[in-house]
Symmetry: C2
Subunit: 295 residues, 2 copies
Amino acid sequence: MSASGPAGDDAGPLAVICGGGSFPFLVADAAQRRGRGVLLFAIRGWADPVAVARYPHHWAGLGQFGRFRRLARAAGCRDVVIIGTMLRPSILNLRPDLASLRYLPRIARLLRGGDNHLLSGIARVLFEANGFRVIGAHEVAPDILVPEGVLGRHRPCERDHADMARGLALIAAMGPFDIGQAVVVADNYVLAVEAAEGTDQMLARVAALRRERRVRLSGKVGVLVKAPKPAQDRRLDLPSVGARTVAAAAEAGLAGIAVEAKGAITADVAAFVEAADAAGLFVFGIAAPAPPERL
Amino acid sequence: MSASGPAGDDAGPLAVICGGGSFPFLVADAAQRRGRGVLLFAIRGWADPVAVARYPHHWAGLGQFGRFRRLARAAGCRDVVIIGTMLRPSILNLRPDLASLRYLPRIARLLRGGDNHLLSGIARVLFEANGFRVIGAHEVAPDILVPEGVLGRHRPCERDHADMARGLALIAAMGPFDIGQAVVVADNYVLAVEAAEGTDQMLARVAALRRERRVRLSGKVGVLVKAPKPAQDRRLDLPSVGARTVAAAAEAGLAGIAVEAKGAITADVAAFVEAADAAGLFVFGIAAPAPPERL
């Protein structure tokens, strides 16, 4: 995998399409540490301008694929990482440039699916059809992957393990519907399912339900379970966790956080685990299920 | 079915365990219209005291099964309807009387499942094991069932039909997890899944996501889909809709509301449809899927 290996002269700099948050810069730093040049394409309205300024970069709007293609080709980029928060746009909010226009009908069709479908479709329709190679952020920066097993000071109990298993099974069952990277299960009872609202808001809802005694659970109970959807293109959208997730889970009165090991990313594993330790929450990396046998 | 037929002298009055809302009284009225006597067991903290006072009644706390059994037997009740809102209690919030105490371990185990599981388990463990017959509110008052087809002035378009189908399939897929009587699907995209928070709160979330432009959809789009979970004991907990559902769905910018025909209840079908007409929403009763063939 040339992206995570030493820079090949032929590969050119790594193009990083930067949404919001710190992940784009972790990826850029990891590439640079390996001697690979980077060229950031900062998405207007999403990427952090202060951080972006530290790297070779261009600004672009969502929909300016033509601008990307021209500048990336001129710089000799072949590999592209797409990383960071970018809310699902409406086709009406895109300001497509000329090169993007011809892809609009296909993108409009993609917008009718779930989020996976959208991202992997855009990777395929725009980037790969134009000779770029889309690679995962975690392939460039494997340190952002949450590892396996008990990661902090606190350990899940038997009830927590049962809640994790139920949560994972639910995420798998919802896979075909392209939702549900996260659920909250407490003592075998599914309290919340994440769809378009995001994990922090889902956890705030659980906190409110418990505060208002609309769900009556005693003590620290329940697990936030996050895992990639089965059909998810892992190059494009792994679920993420961080100190904010810990704070929201603690506020919701949960016992811990479980993610699929190497199936979720965090900006700083040590800081994430430390926050959980301090909040009295366990953090557990569930061994990924074996890939389905091909018949 | 003697409950929905004329009163048999041998059946005694219909016992109605009354939670919150107006459904308990619709059931009591329907029974009385058919000449059947009723005896209400009003759950303290949930049943409406003003309405309860219009019927022969006793008050009881959740957990006072012994009191129910004694009074119901003394009145000659054999048939029981359990209806109205009663939030899932914690075992710690129950104030069990002596007769209930022996069932506590089994109820504690039931509390670890989802809501279905809880209600049907309690019906079985408490009521049926003691010789009562649990019947559905809609068996006594069939008028509360939402009928099939286009019910109001507005008609679902092709996109709405696709959204309904996706929503129904998702509810079916989540069935084994005992959640999800309701979901919102907009233009093939699942915006929200209901778990412990209830339908109104789920719709308020969709309204907020759209208002904050975190989900970008244009115009009236999306369907609230409600249907019983596949494993649900329909005698105990059919999903309900009403004028408040219409207001919340309109606030969320949806195109309409779809329920499984005869798989959801509403206090007043005509008033519900009228509210939807006025709000510009369609109401559709989806024909129930054929029961699975037995092999």
